[in-house]
């Protein structure tokens, strides 16, 4: 700022103020407006232009909200899976301020473990309902333990020695681990998508509400997510260890001085995050009935977008963000085409980071903003 430019600056201070005001408004309401505009657009579009469909055996354009309702139902059920992964990102970021790049691939390993485990204990398409009711929860537990342990191992080997190094260092090891896990997946199940036996008959209708069909898969993913999120909320807010986690997230040094074992608490956080990713992995395998060694890359980025949208470091935000991003993703998948989904999700991520980097609910970490 040279001295010569000072007078002109005071002259344009009114314009400058207006610009700042616009910027603040955009920061506060831009993201919310965008998220509201999205369904409203499709609502108006469906009611006026309509969408192609069949009525009385003829191909016509239908003017109602069934299609949007279906998008939202599928979005919420798919978003429930993203929410589980997003919680893992948010917990880890909240406590050590690191984007755990390997998290999406831990989720992928969860899917692979689940599928391999249930075929190992003999659960298949011929298994009775009782067998599924017993077998799948066991598989879920195994997935959670395996992924939790894997996440703890990654933290111990890759992140803990670098806790004091510049931020770039653990981020690079995280990318490294992500690649190692992808390679494990590649060697495990090969390079193409693998079909999974549809154990829960995911396409069976459970209930139909004015044309909107709710499938078994939708019920399943929500039924897995809700108890886990409630349990996590209880754990973080009511238990001793949960309090230690919150204290460490707020101020690790003070927490250490208060006698909290910070290293142990961080390991616990990774265990929980990995466990949730494992649960998400198993649910995803049952939900999509296909698994792929690269599924973790896109899933991880979608979940990260969800975590950022809700406000990274904020568990409630991660769940809300997951559900919203699920709806957006399903709507795009159905209406524009799945090949364009990454474009919309990443575009949204960039818009969030430009307009409102603290997310919808804001951060609950020590460095707000």
């Amino acid at each position: 700022m040279e001295a010569r430019s000072l007078p002109s600056r005071t002259a344009s201070s009114v314009g400058r103020k207006a610009l700042l005001e616009i910027r603040r408004t955009a920061g506060r309401w831009g993201l919310v407006a965008l998220l509201v505009a999205f369904p409203v657009y499709f609502l108006i579009h469906d009611l006026t232009t309509g969408y192609p469909g069949f009525a009385n055996g003829h191909a016509t354009r239908i003017h109602d909200l069934t299609y949007l309702g279906t998008n939202i139902v599928q979005g919420i059920s798919n978003g429930a899976i993203w929410a589980l992964i997003a919680i893992g990102y948010t917990l880890v970021y909240g406590i050590i301020e690191l984007i755990n790049f390997a998290h999406g691939d831990v989720f992928m390993i969860g899917s692979f473990t689940g599928v391999s485990f249930w075929s190992a204990i003999g659960v298949g398409l011929a298994t009775s309902t009782l067998g599924l009711v017993v077998g799948l929860p066991i598989a879920l537990l195994v997935c959670m333990i395996v992924c939790g342990a894997l996440n703890v191992l990654i933290e111990r080997v890759g992140y803990r020695p670098l806790r004091n190094a510049p931020r770039l260092a653990p981020l690079i090891t995280a990318v490294g681990f992500s690649f190692i896990l992808q390679n494990i997946g590649l060697l495990w199940r090969g390079g193409s998508t693998v079909g999974v036996s549809d154990l829960v008959r995911e396409n069976k209708t459970v209930v139909q509400i004015s044309g909107v069909v709710i499938h078994r898969a939708d019920v399943l993913s929500v039924a897995v997510t809700i108890p886990l999120v409630i349990a996590l909320g209880w754990f973080v807010s009511r238990t001793r260890h949960g309090r230690a986690m919150r204290a460490t997230a707020q101020d690790p040094e003070a927490a250490r001085l208060m006698g909290i074992n910070v290293d142990w608490t961080i390991s616990l956080t990774f265990l929980i995050g990995g466990g949730l990713a494992g649960a998400a992995g198993l649910t995803y395998a049952l939900y999509e009935t296909t698994i792929w060694y690269l599924q973790g890359f896109l899933a991880g980025l979608i979940a990260f977008t969800a975590a950022v949208m809700g406000g990274i470091g904020n568990i409630r935000g991660a769940v809300i963000g997951g559900l919203i991003i699920g709806c957006i993703q399903q709507t795009i998948d159905a209406r524009v085409g799945p090949q364009w989904t990454p474009f919309f999700v990443f575009g949204l991520l960039i818009i969030i980071l430009v307009l409102r980097p603290q997310g919808l609910l804001g951060e609950e970490t020590r460095e707000a903003g």
Binding site: A165, L171, G176, F343, G347
Partner: protein, 400 residues
């Protein structure tokens, strides 16, 4: 561990006492001479020289990324975007892809009459550099206010967006012509023509080698000069402590965007060269793995260290394109394992990233300043001072 480190340092000091002070320059001259003679020792279609051409292109990529990640400390995980843009610039401006256009600038031979846009090779390289520099600045804008790890995610997102466009290009029409060739790719590109050398072809790859060698030398020269300039010092200051640097009067926006632009321009030029060399520009090449591959070169060589990055890039691309597929590929099979070493390629680089970061975060040939910064940080953890791990304020943190 510490004893070993001390021993190594002692040896290093001993070697430095023996060598005369002008040895780095002498070494550089020797290496350049070696590089010039090298293709003459092999046949004109030698597989080894082919690998070296790719390796030199990667040296250029790595030097470009080093400006962004090493000098300015902005972790860019979407470097593949510039490779893609550079390659597509070549595809668009040096082939019959836009078949409705008839533009010919300084082209010789049969290309001068064919439909499409045909520019001379040098012009295309310049265009690729300019275009990717603009793209770099555009990608840089949203990251200006963000912290380090958010920058990584935003750049990654941009890389993936470019990839989506590359893959979906055939369905995007410009004046009725598809934007890219998708997975089939843009083929039938013009062979480059340089006055004095003639038209390049695949039967004699020496001209390709010398072209990329010259490009690398230019890149090296620019890198060294920029690093020691006012701008280079501003980058390093921003990397070390953004708040302090800005309060000392460094223009944040311009300095950061220049880092993105310059880094991107080298990536774009190298990308255009690779597009010309491989004669096929298909979207399948522009994977996230490329960004990590180049990042691994920078990290292995030493963040911010020009010579380290050159060594890292030569080493890794030779391992990737020569050692793993041609030399060591059968080893697991010989040991009775049911896979080839190429299947492990990805995790070898992942493992290398982890290993280098944990054991030797300063890289093979560290930059002096970076080394101090990194090793001091690591040393403190070993003291287990209560709270020491959290006391340090990281460079490049909050900007708002």
């Amino acid at each position: 561990m510490n004893e070993l480190r001390a021993q190594l340092q002692e040896w290093q000091a001993a070697i430095q006492r023996v060598l005369p002070p002008w040895w780095p320059r002498a070494l550089a001259v020797l290496l350049i001479a070696f590089g010039l003679v090298l293709p003459q020792l092999f046949s004109v279609t030698s597989n080894f020289i082919n690998t070296e051409i790719l390796a030199l292109a990667y040296v250029m990529f790595a030097l470009g990324l080093n400006i962004v990640v090493g000098f300015a400390g902005l972790l860019d995980l979407g470097y593949v975007a510039f490779f893609a843009l550079g390659s597509y610039t070549f595809g668009w401006l040096g082939s019959g892809w836009f078949f409705k256009a008839h533009v010919h600038i300084l082209v010789h031979g049969p290309q001068a009459t064919l439909p499409g846009i045909h520019l001379s090779f040098v012009l295309i390289l310049i265009c690729a550099g300019l275009l990717t520099a603009c793209a770099g600045a555009i990608i840089g804008v949203p990251t200006l206010r963000l912290r380090g790890d958010y920058i990584a995610i935003v750049t990654l997102a941009f890389g993936e967006i470019i990839r989506v466009f590359a893959l979906q290009g055939p369905s995007l029409k410009i004046f009725g012509m598809p934007l890219t060739g998708g997975e089939l790719g843009i083929s039938g590109t013009d062979p480059p023509y340089l006055p004095g050398i003639g038209t390049f072809n695949q039967l004699n790859i020496r001209p390709w080698y010398y072209t990329i060698f010259a490009l690398v030398l230019i890149t090296l020269f620019v890198n060294v000069r920029v690093r020691d300039s006012r701008l280079g010092r501003a980058w390093i200051a921003l990397r070390e402590d953004e708040v302090a640097a800005v309060s000392m009067g460094i223009p944040l926006v311009r300095t950061k965007l220049l880092a993105y632009s310059l880094g991107a321009a080298f990536g774009g030029i190298a990308g255009a060269f690779l597009g010309a060399y491989t004669t096929l520009i298909d979207a399948g090449e522009f994977q996230f793995g490329f960004s990590i591959f180049v990042l691994a070169m920078v990290v292995l060589g030493g963040l911010g260290s020009i010579w380290g990055v050159v060594v890292g890039a030569l080493l890794l691309s030779n391992i990737n394109y020569y050692l793993i597929p041609d030399v060591l590929n059968g080893i697991p099979g010989d040991l009775g394992l049911k896979f080839n070493l190429t299947d492990l390629q990805v995790s070898i680089f992942g493992f290398l990233l982890v290993l280098v970061m944990v054991l030797r975060p300063q890289g093979l040939i560290p930059e002096r300043r970076r080394k101090l910064e990194l090793t001091r940080g690591i040393g403190e953890t070993e003291l287990e001072e209560p709270g020491a791990a959290w006391a340090a304020v990281e460079p490049g943190e909050v900007v708002r």
